[in-house]
């Protein structure tokens, strides 16, 4: 079956290659670009360099300075008010949300394209890359791998069966007086039987209309501290209970679960003027800072 589809696809693309030398995109836009259906605006509770306080496993308060926060978004799906689920391809909609690329207000934008016009009630996405995707079609991972390989493979565990690092949070411990001045360093993936992949579902506070005339945005708060101190029913995690320092599987499972807890839609901007992906991408690249501080640690 899959084979047939693959050949059909190849045949199609071949025909496409032969038949169309003129560059009209199948998207069919009035203004020669890829229309942005909607914008996911992630407004983070902290920016890089911000100080925050977390509790360690001995109940001490530790002051930390955030140095890295990033996660891969995959498997984006939107649901219409008629309960139809529209799955967006990872080769379009997958994204790396990296606080290092945030604007002055700690916002990172993710641009969704190709959503059919209509009324929608919710959006869901995965934090990380599911095992199904990671061990499935390679063609469907072209963008995901490119994202993971940015900044010297910063989101790649080359030596792990599932190569993707799903998320990273790192912070410097400012309390030099403590006996264990352990810096915060949590990297989540699917490793050794503990799968940190989690799906987040966000219900829109009002119906979201997708139409060619507009590019509405979904303003979402990302409460980084809630990874450790989630709202009930989430389970609190001491910041030093995972990773380098005698971490337990339970703590990393709880921590991964808390990812579903950190996102909350603040409001929609339903009628924002239509934008094209090509324009915002150019804009984004202007912001990109090239430096990739080497954080190799294994």
């Amino acid at each position: 079956m899959k084979n047939l589809r693959k050949w059909a696809f190849l045949a199609l693309t071949t025909t496409a290659l032969i038949s169309c030398n003129n560059d009209d995109d199948s998207m069919g836009n009035e203004n020669e670009g890829t229309h942005v259906s909607a914008v996911l605006k992630f407004e983070h509770s902290l920016g890089l360099g911000d100080e925050f306080t977390l509790t360690d496993s001995e109940d001490n308060q530790q002051n930390l300075e955030l140095t890295k926060f990033k996660f891969i978004v995959s498997d984006v799906k939107v649901t219409t008010t008629n309960d139809e689920v529209v799955a967006l391809s990872n080769n379009d909609a997958a994204e790396l949300i990296d606080l290092a690329n945030a604007d002055e207000t700690d916002v990172v934008r993710m641009y969704l394209t190709g959503i059919p016009e209509g009324s929608y009630k919710s959006i869901s996405f995965g934090v990380g890359v599911s095992q199904e995707v990671a061990s499935g079609s390679t063609e469907n991972q072209i963008k995901l791998m490119e994202l993971a390989e940015q900044d010297s493979e910063d989101m790649v565990w080359s030596w792990n069966p599932n190569s993707y690092i799903f998320s990273k949070i790192e912070a410097t411990n400012l309390d030099v007086t403590t006996t264990a001045p352990t810096n915060l360093q949590i990297h989540v993936g699917n490793k050794g039987g503990v799968d940190g992949f989690r799906t987040v579902e966000l219900i829109f506070p009002e119906t979201l209309t997708i139409a060619s005339k507009i590019s509405p945005s979904i303003h979402t708060n990302v409460s980084i501290e809630k990874l450790f101190t989630p709202d009930a029913p989430g389970i609190e995690v001491a910041y030093d209970a995972i990773g380098a320092h005698g971490g337990t599987d339970d703590a990393s499972i709880n921590f991964s679960d808390n990812y579903a807890n950190i996102f909350e839609i603040e409001h929609l901007h339903p009628n924002e003027a239509a934008i094209n992906l090509e324009d915002v991408e150019m804009d984004n690249h202007a912001h990109d800072d090239e430096d990739s501080e080497d954080s190799h640690s294994h």
């Binding site: 693959k6 290659l17 499935g136 490119e146 010297s152 493979e153 069966p161 490793k191 050794g192 039987g193």
Partner: protein, 370 residues
């Protein structure tokens, strides 16, 4: 994703678009043929079918120094055809940085289309993304995928080849790079040793009495781990190889199975998969010296002395030493290893010699294209 895949014959007509003199197109077709005596493949033929031009692209990449930092070395540096694609005599391999060696003995690139896991500790479950390790590891090629892709994009020959193989315009990306390498490596099947001809009853497959005796002894003493036609049951096992004091960070399979990416060696030592390694295939074993995950034994006779219960080097008994290597003698005493007389060792060695596949080692399709 395992498929029982059968026989792929791709007839590819290369349209003569070769303006490039360098790119001499040798006249052959690659078809993946399942050897009659081999197990089912694990290679994902549906996702990434092996084609002649995909194979040729993969081979070009395999022999291309641009996959490493400062274009220093290619994959073939450590995977040399004359030694069944291992690193000719090196225990550990120097990578792109002079004087900096890795921690493992290079493995043969052969019959990978049949393997469940890759590398000594099974870090990878798909051949597809295994090359991420050598390309990015500091002790190997120390390059970034982004740089490799950028370098390849500058080369119009690669642009054409990638487009031809992957049927899309902007086809140079890391997925396609990995898929091309997989096609090349997946097609590298070694199945024409004297032993194969013997079991298949083909010409050139007559065994001497000594070789027959060796085969029988091997089946009795070794084939519970080095089993089947690949000569590996593909399990991860602690075979009594002791710690190597010059490689204190080596933990074997424990590193892969631990859920903690930052686990310390001390923590990993407490796991029962500490110092487990994948049972290696013994095909072409004469050519793949030195032996074991760290290449600590130069000669096969030393390997047999190791397995033997009495001759030096001895088996190290960690808590997780595989039970197949612990026996009790008639006095009820525990003996470690596999009892073998010196005569039996000679016969086993004679048998192991029959696993050399000279057709594979001299197959020009796998050699560096000129």
């Amino acid at each position: 994703m395992k498929y029982n895949t059968i026989l792929f014959v791709f007839l590819l007509v290369m349209v003569s678009c070769g303006q490039d003199e360098e790119e001499v197109y040798t006249d052959f077709e690659i078809s993946f043929e399942q050897p009659a005596n081999f197990p089912a493949t694990t290679y994902d033929f549906e996702d990434n079918p092996i084609t002649t031009d995909g194979f040729i692209l993969g081979r070009k990449l395999f022999y291309d120094n641009r996959l490493s930092l400062n274009n220093g070395i290619s994959c073939a540096e450590c995977h040399n055809q004359s030694h069944a694609f291992t690193h000719h005599g090196h225990d550990l391999s120097e990578g792109v940085h002079a004087g900096v060696v890795g921690t493992r003995n290079s493995q043969p690139i052969q019959n990978l289309a049949f393997l469940e896991d890759f590398t000594w500790d099974g870090a990878k479950e798909m051949l597809f993304d295994q090359p991420l390790i050598p390309i990015t590891e500091e002790v190997e090629m120390d390059e970034t995928m982004e740089n490799v892709i950028a370098k390849l994009k500058e080369d119009s020959v690669y642009q054409e080849l990638f487009t031809a193989v992957f049927q899309s315009e902007d086809a140079i990306n890391s997925v396609n790079l990995l898929n091309a390498l997989s096609q090349f490596m997946g097609a590298m099947v070694s199945s024409n040793s004297k032993y194969d001809k013997y079991v298949r009853g083909e010409v050139g497959g007559s065994f001497t009495d000594l070789e027959k005796e060796g085969l029988a002894l091997f089946q009795q003493k070794c084939a519970n781990c080095h089993s089947g036609e690949l000569f590996t049951n593909q399990e991860f096992i602690n075979n009594g190889i002791g710690e190597n004091s010059s490689l204190p960070d080596e933990t074997g399979r424990a590193r892969i199975n631990s859920p903690n990416p930052f686990a310390t060696v001390e923590e990993l030592k407490t796991r029962d998969d500490y110092y487990q390694f994948r049972v290696p295939s013994l095909r072409n074993v004469i050519k793949t010296y030195p032996y074991m995950h760290d290449g600590r034994f130069v000669m096969l006779s030393k390997v047999l002395d190791f397995y033997d219960d009495d001759t030096y080097p001895l088996i190290t008994k960690m808590d997780n030493l595989d039970s197949r290597l612990i026996q009790t003698n008639s006095n009820g005493e525990e003996i470690l290893g596999i009892p073998m007389t010196e005569g039996e060792k000679v016969a086993i060695l004679a048998f192991l010699e029959t696993l050399t596949d000279n057709e594979f080692i001299n197959d020009e399709r796998f050699a560096k294209p000129n």
